[in-house]
């Protein structure tokens, strides 16, 4: 039986998360189809067609899907579900919004944030902020699951899947009002090879300038702890952690971050972790490969001078 992957896109570009979910689908094994539900989303469709391992791209292009609302996109997926044994989406804000609705309508459980595929019905997922890993076997006829993108490599762009247009247009009672997206020339947190993150120790939004300078020198993304976001230093979409973004870059530099369980949950699978903190007792040092006990207002400018 086939696997359906719900694409993550903004009608123009396909998010790398989808390429990573396709890898998880390939690990399950079977015919992999991608559903692009959106409006004027031809460019995203073309990108989906090029994903290695995908045999078909289903296109639901309708004004009703322009904001990709959970209410009607879930119904669309359910209409298609008869042909599939697995339905996958990235554990992003769109996937987390939509997929539980799909699962409930299909009367099956959802397996959230899968980080490893053991077989077509058995998966590993973190619980308790990543302090434990549960190996879960699904007893449901259909497996509906969100995939943690940071745990999978992106599928290559060497494919050439056929595109099939769907005519199913389902309305929602929810109206899209507006959207304010953070504009940044830096890489996205989820795709960055290096992340420079600041915490409450940064003291203010203005002080983040020294971290941004470091990020630009390293070609890195900027992240933050919840405390830094709550204090209004930086926007919400920079939050790394149990309830923010889960990242696993090659290098994560935590500056003025204490290392609470909830923050560690979002970054402790990074390949190399650096911590800069003036408190030698800060728990962040327990996960850091390289720790520097120092005042960040001296250390970061010095670092900027050396890299």
């Amino acid at each position: 039986m086939a696997i359906l992957v719900l694409a993550e896109h903004d009608n123009v570009s396909l998010k790398t998360d989808t390429a990573k979910v396709v890898s998880a689908a390939t690990a399950i094994g079977g015919d992999v189809h991608v559903l692009v539900a959106g409006h004027d989303c031809a460019a995203a469709v073309t990108a989906a067609q090029s994903l290695a391992g995908v045999s078909k791209v289903l296109v639901a292009d309708s004004a009703e899907y322009s904001a990709q609302l959970a209410e009607n996109v879930s119904k669309l997926v359910v209409e298609l579900a008869a042909d599939y044994e697995h339905v996958l989406a990235a554990a992003t804000s769109v996937g987390k919004d939509t997929l539980p609705r799909v699962a409930a309508l299909l009367d099956v459980s959802q397996i959230s944030e899968v980080i490893e595929v053991l077989s077509s019905d058995t998966f590993v997922r973190p619980i308790y902020a990543g302090n434990a890993l549960a190996t879960v076997q699904s007893l449901d006829a259909k497996k509906v699951m969100t995939v943690r993108s940071s745990a999978f490599d992106a599928a290559a762009s060497t494919g050439s899947a056929e595109a099939v247009n769907l005519t199913l247009s389902i309305a929602a009672r929810t109206d899209f009002v507006s959207q304010a997206l953070t504009e940044s020339a830096r890489p996205e947190l989820g795709n960055a090879g290096i992340i420079v993150s600041g915490g409450r120790g940064m003291g203010s939004g203005e002080n983040f300038a020294i971290l941004e300078q470091l990020a630009d020198k390293l070609g890195a993304a900027v992240g933050a702890s919840r405390a830094a976001v709550d204090a209004g230093f930086v926007p919400n979409d920079l939050q790394v952690g149990q309830t923010g973004k889960i990242v696993a870059p090659d290098l994560y530099i935590a500056v003025g971050i204490s290392g609470a369980i909830q923050h560690l949950a979002g970054m402790k699978d990074s390949k190399v972790i650096v911590a800069i903190n003036k408190d030698p007792e800060a728990p962040i040092f327990q996960v850091a490969d390289y720790g520097l006990v120092a005042d960040l207002f001296e250390a970061v400018p010095a670092l900027n001078g050396l890299v």
């Binding site: 903004d10 609302l69 959970a70 209410e71 804000s93 769109v94 987390k96 919004d97 539980p100 609705r101 699962a103 409930a104 099956v108 459980s109 959802q110 959230s112 944030e113 973190p126 619980i127 308790y128 902020a129 302090n131 434990a132 890993l133 190996t135 879960v136 076997q137 699904s138 007893l139 449901d140 009672r173 929810t174 109206d175 009002v177 507006s178 959207q179 304010a180 997206l181 976001v229 919400n236 979409d237 149990q242 309830t243 290098l251 909830q262 402790k268 390949k271 972790i273 650096v274 030698p280 040092f285 996960v287 850091a288 490969d289 720790g291 520097l292 010095a302 670092l303 050396l306 890299v307």
Partner: protein
């Protein structure tokens, strides 16, 4: 207008749980338990709606063993008017919880159902969306602002790229994120008062909902520990290590 707030009892956010030696589950014996932080924010929002004269009644509901009554009392100390305890000793998946909540909603007919976006134990992030599907209600997840105007809700959501605002007719389901509000502390008089507020217990069997098994947890294991790192003594040494040892810059 009635607001229904489903809440969960979880291990306190400040406690680091450990996996049992036999790898069957995490060990929660004698750990400090609390109202799930996101559920607390949902309760706070409901109480503020009542204080603003928008909500007439705030009802909290929890599914679980007898001990969840402690968290229901906490929610009432924060300002909820009454509580419903759906009693079961079984560990239910979010879909089963959503089915039980559907039966509660059929009776309560709330106009707004406020959920925490996820519980910090299972980290599932499903129950609100699932109840929305089962009751065919509109939903807004991960809310950082909720405005009600007549029979319409306008909700700002924290999404991956920033913020998004949606509007929808009531009844609707909203799941709340961290920055929606800062929950109050329950005062001692309110804690005392909460002890006398109505708490109704209903056995799962009496709701007439048929539940089934959806998954088996084969094992629960600790994550692989990171190997101990080193402290460097200067920025120069740090840069040298990152370049020549870790080779990441």
């Amino acid at each position: 207008m009635k607001v229904l707030v489903p809440v969960k009892r979880v291990v306190d956010a400040n406690v680091k749980v450990r996996v049992k030696a036999d790898n069957t589950n995490v060990d929660t014996t004698n750990l400090k338990m609390a109202l799930n932080p996101f559920c607390e924010i949902a309760v706070e929002e409901a109480v503020r709606l009542k204080e603003a004269g928008i909500a007439a009644e705030v009802v909290v509901v929890s599914v679980g063993a007898k001990a969840v009554q402690e968290q229901l009392r906490t929610a009432m100390a924060l300002g909820a008017d009454r509580a419903i305890h759906i009693e079961t000793d079984e560990d239910l998946v979010p879909l089963s919880i959503a089915k039980l909540l559907k039966a509660v909603q059929e009776k309560e007919q709330a106009q707004l159902i406020l959920f925490g976006k996820q519980s910090i134990d299972g980290d599932n992030n499903q129950t609100g969306q699932m109840l929305a599907a089962l009751t065919d209600m509109p939903q807004a997840t991960f809310a950082s602002e909720v405005k009600l105007d007549g029979d319409k809700a306008t909700v700002t959501r924290e999404i991956d790229g920033g913020l998004q605002t949606l509007s929808m007719p009531l009844p609707a389901i909203v799941t709340v994120d961290l920055r929606l509000n800062e929950p109050r502390y329950a005062s001692l008089p309110n804690i005392m008062k909460a002890k006398r507020k109505p708490l109704e217990t209903i056995a799962v069997a009496d709701l007439g909902v048929s539940l089934k098994a959806h998954q088996t947890v084969l094992k629960v294991t600790p994550p692989v520990d990171r190997k101990a790192g080193i402290l460097v003594s200067s920025v120069e040494e740090l840069v040298e290590k990152l370049k020549n040892e870790a080779k990441v810059i």
